[in-house]
Symmetry: C3
Subunit: 438 residues, 3 copies
């Protein structure tokens, strides 16, 4: 289980690339060995705790599916050529296919083929978790070139009772208030959607683990999409509803586009405000904020009316809106390892905003306290220049009514939240402020 790479000895993008290359070839699905191998590798970066939910377990409205066992799958053409072999590309087999072995005509085979008409060279990614079928995914060009004749189909798969694999890592802080980071590990060989998500999340974990005096508790969740978040909520949802102050689903953060943030259902949750605060101040202003909509990834479960958690989504190009989406073209060429590293950095910025986002109460609320006496401002002066650090103190003291969090003070004042946090530390030292009780 040791990769031979010491994670701390290499620059992040290079390290991400190394992990990417190990994770890429694994045949993942919503259940099965591929997921376990994937989580084993990620465990080198994050101390994941495995949750195996037995096949057939009822989780809210869903039943945990069987494990998928896949040994081999390919087709032999009338000319004896072996094609559509999952050893070449694991997208060739419709994910979760039932077993099949037999000889069939080109016409009958074609009924089981999936291709993309407008993209002659792409192999699509197709799944059928809840309908027992078999099928192959093929480039449209190859599909059109298949000759008449008899084809031998080999799909050596099984669906067995076992369990569905999820992993979590809870990084504690001094407060039990939680931030959720959720990403999914059920897609086979695709790069932006999905290896970018687990990799950015894993490296975010490392940033947070290194943070001194961490206040918040971080809940990292690596799950199969949809049924995974529902199963996870059925286990942890009550606590999450009570404790989650913000959360993010991480997906498609590997391409070269600016960030897109999709708001939580509440649309003004702390998660949304922290993300908007960071993204709007970053770069050239091309990051985008989107309103919530209830389809997409696991956010639709976190934001379902019974939970309504403050959970948004961080992506770059939006899933479904970039041309490589759910096809063999979503590969190494479609992404940049630096993009994944910078996504981890940006998420870390979100978390740092959440970390400093206290609500303070002014202990000298009747008029401005005497700052000069406490060496918090100069005592001689012409009053002709603004001093940023003093403005920050004055905003903070004025707004420290016990109702405004630091982020709202940053938003209102236009002063950087880090500057306000520095001011807060000075004022705490000077006993001008206290942290408001909830």
């Amino acid at each position: 289980m040791n990769s031979g790479i010491d994670p701390l000895d290499s620059d992040t993008a290079t390290l991400i690339e190394a992990y990417f290359d190990r994770l890429w070839p694994i045949m993942r699905s919503i259940t099965g060995e591929g997921v376990r191998q994937t989580h084993d590798i990620l465990s080198e970066l994050v101390p994941l705790e495995r949750i195996e939910i037995p096949t057939g377990t009822i989780c809210h409205d869903w039943k945990i599916p069987q494990e998928w066992v896949v040994r081999e799958a390919y087709v032999i053409t009338p000319d004896g050529e072996r094609i559509l072999d999952i050893a070449d590309n694991n997208l060739h087999l419709v994910n979760y296919s039932i077993p099949f072995r037999g000889k069939i005509s080109r016409e009958d085979l074609d009924k089981h083929l999936h291709s993309i008409e407008g993209e002659p060279d792409s192999i699509p990614y197709v799944t059928s978790y809840y309908a027992p079928i078999w099928g192959f995914c093929i480039s449209h060009k190859m599909r059109n070139s298949l000759v008449e004749g008899e084809y031998e189909v080999v799909i050596d798969t099984d669906h067995i009772d076992g369990s569905m694999t999820m992993s979590e890592a809870v990084l504690p802080g001094s407060s039990s208030d939680e931030v959720l980071i959720s990403t999914y590990t059920c897609h086979p060989s695709m790069a932006n959607n999905e290896l970018s998500g687990p990799l950015a999340s894993a490296f975010l974990y490392r940033h947070l683990a290194a943070l001194k005096n961490r206040k918040l508790t971080y809940r990292f969740v690596f799950i199969p999409e949809t049924v995974g978040s529902i199963a996870y909520l059925s286990l942890r949802g009550d606590r999450m509803r009570e404790k989650t102050v913000a959360g993010y689903v991480i997906t498609c953060v590997g391409d070269r586009a600016p960030f897109t943030y999709k708001k939580s259902q509440r649309e003004d949750s702390l998660a949304d405000r922290a993300a908007a605060y960071v993204l709007q101040r970053q770069g050239d202003g091309s990051n985008r904020i989107r309103d919530f909509f209830p389809f997409g990834s696991d956010e639709r479960n976190y934001c379902s009316p019974g939970y309504n958690l403050p959970v948004g989504v961080l992506a770059r190009s939006w899933p479904g809106e970039f041309s490589e989406y759910h096809s063999s073209r979503d590969n190494r060429d479609a992404i940049s390892f630096k993009s994944i590293a910078s996504a981890a950095d940006t998420l870390f910025e979100f978390c740092k905003v959440l970390e400093v986002n206290q609500v303070y109460e002014n202990l000298f609320p009747f008029g401005e306290p005497n700052l000069g006496r406490r060496n918090l401002m100069e005592t001689t002066g012409a009053g002709r220049t603004r001093r940023d650090h003093i403005d920050a103190i004055k905003w903070l003291l004025n707004q420290a009514s016990g109702n405004n969090d630091l982020l709202s003070i940053a938003e209102r004042s236009g002063i950087n939240i880090d500057k306000l946090d520095e001011a807060a530390c000075k004022c705490l030292d000077a006993k001008l402020l206290k942290i408001a009780s909830k």
Copy 2:
């Protein structure tokens, strides 16, 4: 009382025209036989129940005026010509004039004349319900051409104790929640203001009466303007305050302009939201929404602070803002019978929005329910295309927290409310939703 026209055998605009022609010549006022004749004719379309309020009855701050009896009114010129005869145009007599019979000079007659200086050919519409005067309305051109000499004035009118006539028709639905449709029948021969209003309302009634599974109860009110709505509120106001979910005053819907909607005093009432929803999606975007103001027609009484009902106004050109307003030029040429028919259709659209505007509660609120298992979405796929009907289901389930009505979900999602209603029906069938109790 039978018009000889079977209402269901003819297209609506033609039918409206036939009723218009019968209603046009009647000498209406706030009280009297003209109103009764008018309501008799409208009763062929709507099963009106007559309310006769006796003269002198105190209704809130008002006293019901006497009935006006008008037999003939005209002037004989010094040349012996009979002019200003109400047999030619019932606008010639100041409405509710006291009787007068006598010979007077041109100068004295002129003190009793009303004309419009800038419109030489128009006869104005003038009333004097609450000051006992007599007068004639005359084109400015004719007024200027009156020769010196003695004029014989004949005004054979009476004010007698009797009653003020109002009519209502309550079309029941499965809920006792009510929609108010209010229009007035006190103006003599004018087309846009006012025959368009009662005619559009009557045909709206017919649309609604034909609606299967009608949920809401519709209260149609045909009354004299101002004193009529006050008297009606004095009778029905307590119930209306309790039951009215939306309401519309209908006036000036006969000309060829786009629609204008004037909001209720609340400005975000369900009436306002439903009207805005329909009007903003209709046609070329030229429909207008106006803020509330407390003058105009009966909405000022419905929206008075003691009632503050959710009642707006539907018009095309705004009363007072089109050149034919309150003059003999507001005639057949100023309107189109298709405009009246389409106003009835548009009001029916408002009502259909109100009909479907349920508040739903998700019965599987913990994560998205399994739609595939219920055949509500496909189970195999590449996830590369959006499906409108599935988006509608997902929006609905996500927002069905028991707080959001369907209209607010349509506004937020951008999905047509009819599509959402279809989705709701499927989800009710699948027992995923229930209608929220209030």
Copy 3:
């Protein structure tokens, strides 16, 4: 103490100029005789009551400083020339300097000099209330021309136990609800900042004192900046928190720029709404409204979280944002006496809005009351023209639900608040309205 000028015998700007000239040369500071002389002169205009707070008194987080006694201060150059003499310009001495007498080198003297590098001819205004230092303020040109050699420094000052001087004048109205007018009198010879403020406030007092049937009570406060408002709040703050409905800090209203209004912390307080209402309708639209920020003048104390009073600031050019600020260039040439007079007039407009800003309750809330019967509108008419005074009555009656103040009705209707007040008087006479109890 009699100036020989009868304030009522002269036009306001001329009168302001006369007072300005008497107040200009006085050596003011946060404490001491200069402040008392200043308040003596202002007492001719406003019946000020003196509040002397003893040195050392604890006021919230602050301690009242000693009185500053200043007799003379100057420097003798190596050439025997007497320079930096406060007899020439009282800005030359750092305000609140400790005494010093001695001979020192140019280098040592320079450590005690303050000048403005970019403004060679300006003498800066520098204070040191809370650090015991001495210093001189000098034009940068003169500073650079000082020759080597020995300089004789004479600063004959004292800090003695005594008291800090504040004055108040409470102009009673029929209601105990209060409007605060606060201005400061601690700056030595500067014109816009600060003589414009006390002078505009004093003339506002005269306008208000002449107002018949004054409803509100006006609290005028003349204090040293910062420590003054804190000390005043420590005395009167509890009452002010209970009674203050609006308030304004007056500063820098003497220059020729349009008005700037800075909102109170609440940002939608009655003070803010009244100021915005007046300023947005005034002149060519160049008046500006600024959001609140917690630095500046005494508003930061009035708006501190323990009080959070509805107090904004009226200025023209903003303190710190005009080039003459806190320097010898802020003199007679930088201001216009008409500007000060018009500031008093504009503040009077604010107050008149506050005076009429009642909340009314419609006594006939069920439908529109019969206005014709009460001679509040014409009873005969063609309904073809709008009548402003009737619109005002109708808006008022419609909105008189006991929740809307007159200002909100003016904002919503677009009708001038004076017209609405006239309408309210008519409706009160007609017993259609009453003033709502709180």
